[in-house]
């Protein structure tokens, strides 16, 4: 049986680790290389790294040099943030990414997933979905027309060849209010590819609730970056609650 996956989700900007709330107000959170080395020795199951400078149009491509330094460890790395063509995908893989994260580019170029997958395999593509909840209705952040149903979009991403989905609840992101478990389950039940959910987990009880619902992969931002918790503490807590985690 597979172990539950605890995946620290790190944002970088200008070579530094940062953390914000609802994708805004980013604060410096230290050195990415040191943090990743620590997470590696704490036995994080994977590490997710996104460079946000391309979204803010500060740069044309994510920080591959930094990725190269980070990837010297022995923990699986997913890297993204502005990867928009084969050349950048290639740079990411040759700099040490095991998987790449594609998000808004899929809106402009649906075929990009298969193009990259043809060389690197579908398992190496994580497709992102930023979900916004407006008065109980769910939308995709990048969809300005507000007409795409996120469940249908998840199915579409699977069909386009994504090996995995990363779903972020934008309203909850950084708030520590807890994650949207019901909607996570609804997405998960509609696809046959692994789904990583993120946004809102701020304490261990919320994590218990998430895993009790049968979901198996969680992305953690605030809980890791700005708190006294670390992977060792989190995993020991989960083991005491009889969850199947790897220590």
């Amino acid at each position: 049986m597979s172990y539950l996956r605890i995946i620290p989700s790190l944002l970088i900007s200008n070579g530094k680790l940062v953390k914000g709330i609802n994708f805004k107000n980013f604060k410096n959170a230290g050195s990415p290389v040191t943090t990743v080395t620590a997470l590696d020795s704490q036995k994080a199951d994977e590490i997710f790294i996104v460079d946000i400078d391309c979204y803010n149009k500060k740069k044309l491509e994510p920080d591959f040099k930094l990725l190269k330094k980070i990837a010297e460890n022995n923990t699986p790395i997913t890297f993204g943030g502005g990867i928009k063509d084969m050349i950048m995908a290639k740079k990411a893989f040759s700099s040490g990414a095991d998987k790449i994260f594609l998000n808004s580019i899929i809106f402009n170029d649906e075929k990009i997933i298969e193009k990259i997958a043809f060389q690197y395999g579908n398992q190496a593509i994580v497709a992102g979905m930023n979900i916004i909840n407006k008065n109980g209705k769910y939308f995709i952040m990048e969809d300005s027309s507000n007409t795409i149903d996120p469940i249908e979009y998840a199915k579409k991403l699977q069909k386009l060849g994504a090996g995995e989905l990363k779903i972020i609840f934008v309203n909850l992101e950084g708030t520590k209010k807890g994650i949207d478990i019901n909607y996570s389950k609804e997405i998960n039940n509609n696809v046959k590819i692994p789904c990583i959910f993120e946004g809102g987990i701020g304490n261990l009880d919320q994590l218990d609730l998430f895993f009790s619902s049968g979901l198996i992969s969680i992305g953690l931002g605030s809980l890791i970056t700005f708190s006294d918790y670390n992977i060792v503490k989190i995993k020991h807590h989960l083991i005491n609650k009889n969850f199947n985690v790897r220590v």
Binding site: M1, S2, Y3, R5, D40, K43, D45, E46, K68, A71, E72, N73, N74, T75, P76, F93, S94, S95, G96, A97, D98, K99, A117, F118, Q119, Y120, G121, N122, Q123, A124, Q158, G163, E164, K192, I193, P194, I216, S217, R246, V247
Partner: protein, 205 residues
């Protein structure tokens, strides 16, 4: 000892490179043909899709050179895609012909999920020395959509380690001078490093 890491245009090689470097060796990256002659141990890593990997190996002449290397009895470690290319046929992104050391085909998962991504405990089928240094558990990191299906049930004995993912998935194979791992030892933290170390000291029977 000269350790070669094959870079066939579809790989993340930095983790495997640094894993070996930290164990005290200075591995050589092999990109072209005619570079395998002075290599004592060959590692074929893998993040890739079968068809484009095998096409590349054929175009560069490396496919034949791997076969020749296999015949020299020097140890080879194949990881993930680098393991799967030793089967007879592969079906990822179109049909391609493998090296054929392992009598089996590489076929896609259908259930419970199309992808096996994450950590699993590898069950050891034989009394093998290979896991002797691994204390707590045998968990390793997997990331794949296709798996090895043996042509004959009796060949399953070649599998030293397996996992279950909807079906039985051969995860560690030792045959002649070849060691194949479906999981990623270079991404499996301490447990993985122990296996890499084992391979570097391994004398095939």
């Amino acid at each position: 000892m000269n350790i070669g890491i094959l870079d066939y245009n579809a790989c993340n090689i930095s983790s495997i490179y640094y894993s070996i470097y930290r164990l005290g060796y200075d591995p050589k990256i092999i990109k072209n043909s005619n570079e395998l002659n002075d290599i004592d141990r060959l590692i074929i890593p893998g993040v890739g899709a079968a068809k484009s990997c095998i096409d590349h190996l054929n175009q560069t002449g490396l496919f034949n050179e791997i076969q020749e290397f296999l015949a020299t009895q020097k140890p080879i470690l194949g990881i993930c895609m680098g393991f799967q290319i030793f089967a007879t046929k592969l079906y990822e992104h179109g049909l391609s012909k493998g090296i054929g050391l392992i009598e089996g085909e590489i076929v896609p998962f259908k259930k419970p999920n199309l992808f096996n991504i994450g950590w699993q405990d590898v069950e050891i089928n034989k009394k093998s020395e290979i896991f002797k240094d691994i204390k707590n558990n045998n968990s390793f990191y997997f990331c794949h959509s296709h798996y090895l299906k043996f042509n004959n049930k009796k060949d399953e004995e070649e599998s030293v380690g397996t996992i279950k993912f909807g079906t039985l998935v051969p995860s560690l194979i030792i045959k002649k001078n070849f060691m194949g791992m479906q999981f990623h030892p270079e991404k499996s933290q301490k447990n993985g490093l122990n296996l890499i170390k084992y391979f570097l000291n391994w004398s095939p029977q």
